[in-house]
């Protein structure tokens, strides 16, 4: 029915709230917001029983005011009325969250995004709203905007890679644009909820509640060695004993033993306090690694070697006693995104000469930043999951370790 017909319907039956609502909707569609508002509020006032109708009226009246710009108190009030009518529906929370985003009241934005997500699965009652996807987006926006910390970046990352809803290319590109602007997460940890996404499940993965590495380095080691227990490692550049550490998971959940080297006294002492395995506070360039491994009675085959000493990584690699010790899995941080490419090339040559295959080159922590190569010894190349052997010139860590998005 057109506006004229709806007006007639209303006038012949003026206390029929459904006809009044239809009239308001038509005014709304015709972008005559003021008239629509009058009939929405009148309808909600007159209706006694149908809470869904009242709820819709409050939301749509709020949206009509929002179109008029700079009536934020009024928009807020109407949407809050809607929440008071049906507090456990998602739509009003979504629009309140959206309102918080528009007015940069990020706590309102976050709180209502979270509430909307709590109720996102309610049966549709015919209100035009974009659904779950936008709630997740608002949650991420607000989280980032409130504190500007890593947590917010991670939410945007999750929107892109861990979402539970369908999205389209333009949405993905929009999120990528945001991440390029605010920065990609410094680290993305594995959680038990990622199990079905992981490309190379290994024995015991179901026991992994979370990992510690920045970009799944520890999960890669376990995947190559099928969740080996009581393995061994040499970790050069340990850093924090847990945060972003590549051996914490191996030690705590898989009973590995090993030696870690850390030049920072503060980090080394912290490591000693909180971890059971050996930590040595020293400059890696001053260590005779053959002597070290001998004196620690390490077997000639060690499961994992990590070299991450920033600018000195290549010098450390040159000093490795490959003639005497074999490492099943090696991760070398070349930081090609910021250091000379010659370092990367020399490292690969050293590894090739020592009997190693590069299975994932140029691991990157955002799609265009390459910082690590991951190798396995030729003796075990046939034993590792084939999905981990990639010939790609670079490997964004998520795409390398995880299956496609849901």
């Amino acid at each position: 029915m057109n506006l004229q017909q709806l007006v007639n319907e209303h006038v012949f039956d003026p206390k029929n709230t459904y006809k009044m609502f239809d009239l308001a909707r038509e005014y709304d569609k015709l972008e005559n917001g003021a008239a629509a508002i009058s009939f929405y509020i009148r309808c909600a006032d007159l209706e006694d029983d149908d809470k869904e109708l009242q709820y819709k009226c409050m939301i749509y009246a709020g949206l009509a005011y929002a179109r008029q710009e700079r009536r934020n108190y009024t928009v807020l009030g109407l949407l809050q009325h809607a929440v008071s009518i049906l507090p456990t529906r998602p739509e009003a929370h979504y629009f309140l969250s959206k309102h918080g985003e528009k007015t940069t009241d990020w706590r309102i934005c976050l709180n209502h995004a979270l509430l909307g997500l709590e109720f996102k699965d309610k049966k549709d009652i015919g209100i035009d709203w974009p659904g779950e996807k936008e709630l997740w987006f608002l949650r991420a926006s607000a989280s980032w905007s409130i504190s500007g910390v890593e947590y917010g970046r991670q939410m945007f990352f999750d929107l892109l890679y861990r979402r539970t809803f369908r999205a389209d290319k333009s949405f993905d590109e929009y999120i990528i644009g945001i991440l390029n602007n605010i920065g990609w997460p410094d680290a993305t940890t594995y959680s038990k909820n990622d199990k079905d996404l992981f490309v190379a499940p290994f024995k015991g993965i179901e026991d992994v509640k979370k990992n510690y590495s920045k970009h799944f380095q520890d999960m890669f080691v376990l995947a190559c060695l099928d969740g080996k227990r009581k393995g061994t490692y040499l970790e050069i550049g340990a850093g924090n004993p847990f945060t972003h550490n590549n051996t914490a998971l191996l030690e705590t959940e898989f009973d590995w033993k090993g030696i870690s080297i850390e030049w920072s006294a503060h980090l080394a002492y912290d490591f000693a306090q909180r971890r059971s395995n050996t930590i040595i506070n020293a400059n890696a360039l001053e260590i005779d690694f053959e002597d070290l491994l001998v004196k620690h009675c390490m077997e000639n085959t060690i499961d994992f070697l990590q070299i991450d000493t920033d600018e000195t990584s290549i010098q450390v690699l040159r000093n490795m006693p490959f003639h005497r010790y074999k490492f099943n899995v090696v991760q070398f941080e070349h930081d090609a995104y910021r250091l000379d490419d010659a370092i990367r090339q020399e490292a690969r040559q050293i590894m090739r000469d020592a009997g190693y295959e590069i299975v994932a080159q140029n691991i990157s922590f955002r799609p265009d930043v390459e910082y690590e190569d991951w190798f396995v010894h030729r003796d075990i190349i046939d034993n590792i999951p084939q999905r981990l052997i990639k010939s790609d010139a670079k490997n964004f860590f998520w795409d390398y370790m995880m299956k496609g998005k849901k």
């Binding site: 007006v7 006038v11 012949f12 005559n32 006032d45 005011y65 108190y73 109407l78």
Partner: protein
């Protein structure tokens, strides 16, 4: 009259062959804020109507269930704009009350820097005298910094493809001209330069447009009728027949809710005068499209304002605004209007 008292004049008219025409304007012209107080008038064979467009949208919770933070009745302006700004939009209508053309009246040549926050000519009634087309309304933006208001005749014409203000003629109150605000004087269509300033008792003012002076030509305090409220100006004053003139006036109850916050409702009443300006008949109070009835008092809570009336092709057209937000033209067959006048 059962349906009129229950549901309003619009329902009464439609059930007897009338029509209600909703008037919408493009959002590019209005920004979707209130369009109200339309004044319909036929000029040189063209059906014209002035619509007041404001920078606010009224919020009225008639049943008070869902009030604004400021109360059940609130004027919602842009939060960074303290003005109440009025624009006048002139529309030309066809015989079916469909808009043929709509455009804002260009007042830029005569506008001055406002001295108060109510800007523009408000509640303009459309009419012509001596073949000159006028809007008359109240202006409050040029007299002082405290909102002094005076009626004004604004001559308009369609020039170079747009409606334009040609002249601006402030109308002083009759001597001693000391009042704070004059508004809702309504033009007497068949008496050039005469207005009904007040309806009960009826006060008729003559305006000398050349000299810019006014004088009271009719006022008899003894003629005041006992009415529940003041009768305020509504539509133009039209000839009903050789002996009588008619207007639709309005009345206002500015109540408060239980928290002392502003509320209000409007009613209308048809007033009929004889040629000596005696009120010889009036209807009961009525509304057009009210829906919310107070179960205790029986009051209808709504805001409506009729500011235009036209007799054409044996029909009566009353133009009115609803809640300052919407504009309607009620078309009533002549005999139905007569029935309404006689029985209401």
């Amino acid at each position: 009259m059962h349906d009129m008292h229950l549901y309003g004049l619009a329902t009464f008219a439609l059930k007897r062959g009338g029509k209600l025409h909703p008037i919408t304007l493009p959002s590019e012209l209005t920004g979707e804020t209130g369009i109200m107080n339309p004044s319909i008038y036929m000029h040189n064979g063209k059906i014209l109507m002035n619509i007041r467009h404001v920078n606010y949208t009224l919020y009225h919770s008639e049943g008070k269930k869902w009030p604004h933070q400021f109360g059940p009745l609130a004027y919602i302006h842009p939060e960074n704009d303290v003005t109440l700004t009025t624009y006048n939009i002139m529309v030309e209508l066809d015989e079916n009350m469909q808009i043929k053309h709509a455009g804002r009246i260009n007042t830029s040549e005569l506008d001055t820097d406002p001295t108060w926050t109510f800007i523009g000519l408000e509640d303009g009634r459309l009419f012509s005298w001596d073949d000159r087309l006028f809007l008359c309304g109240v202006r409050r933006d040029c007299y002082d910094e405290h909102g002094k208001g005076r009626m004004e005749m604004q001559e308009i014409d369609f020039v170079d493809g747009e409606w334009k203000e040609i002249s601006r003629n402030p109308i002083p109150a009759p001597p001693p001209d000391k009042t704070y605000c004059e508004k809702n004087w309504v033009p007497i269509l068949d008496m050039p330069y005469h207005f009904v300033k007040w309806t009960n008792p009826t006060e008729v003012i003559k305006f000398n447009i050349d000299e810019g002076t006014t004088e009271t030509v009719v006022l008899d305090e003894k003629n005041k009728r006992k009415m529940p409220r003041d009768l305020r100006g509504g539509t133009q004053v039209l000839r009903l027949n050789d002996e009588q003139r008619i207007t639709i006036s309005h009345e206002v109850d500015l109540g408060k809710d239980v928290f002392g916050r502003k509320d209000g409702h409007y009613v209308h009443r048809a007033i009929v005068w004889d040629n000596d300006w005696n009120i010889v008949h009036h209807t009961q109070e009525f509304h057009f499209m009210g829906t919310q009835t107070d179960p205790v008092t029986g009051n209808q809570f709504h805001i409506e304002f009729a500011t235009g009336m036209m007799f054409h092709n044996n029909k009566v057209y009353i133009s009115y605004g609803l809640q300052d937000n919407a504009t309607f033209i009620l078309e009533i067959p002549g005999h139905v209007f007569t029935e309404f006048l006689e029985r209401a």
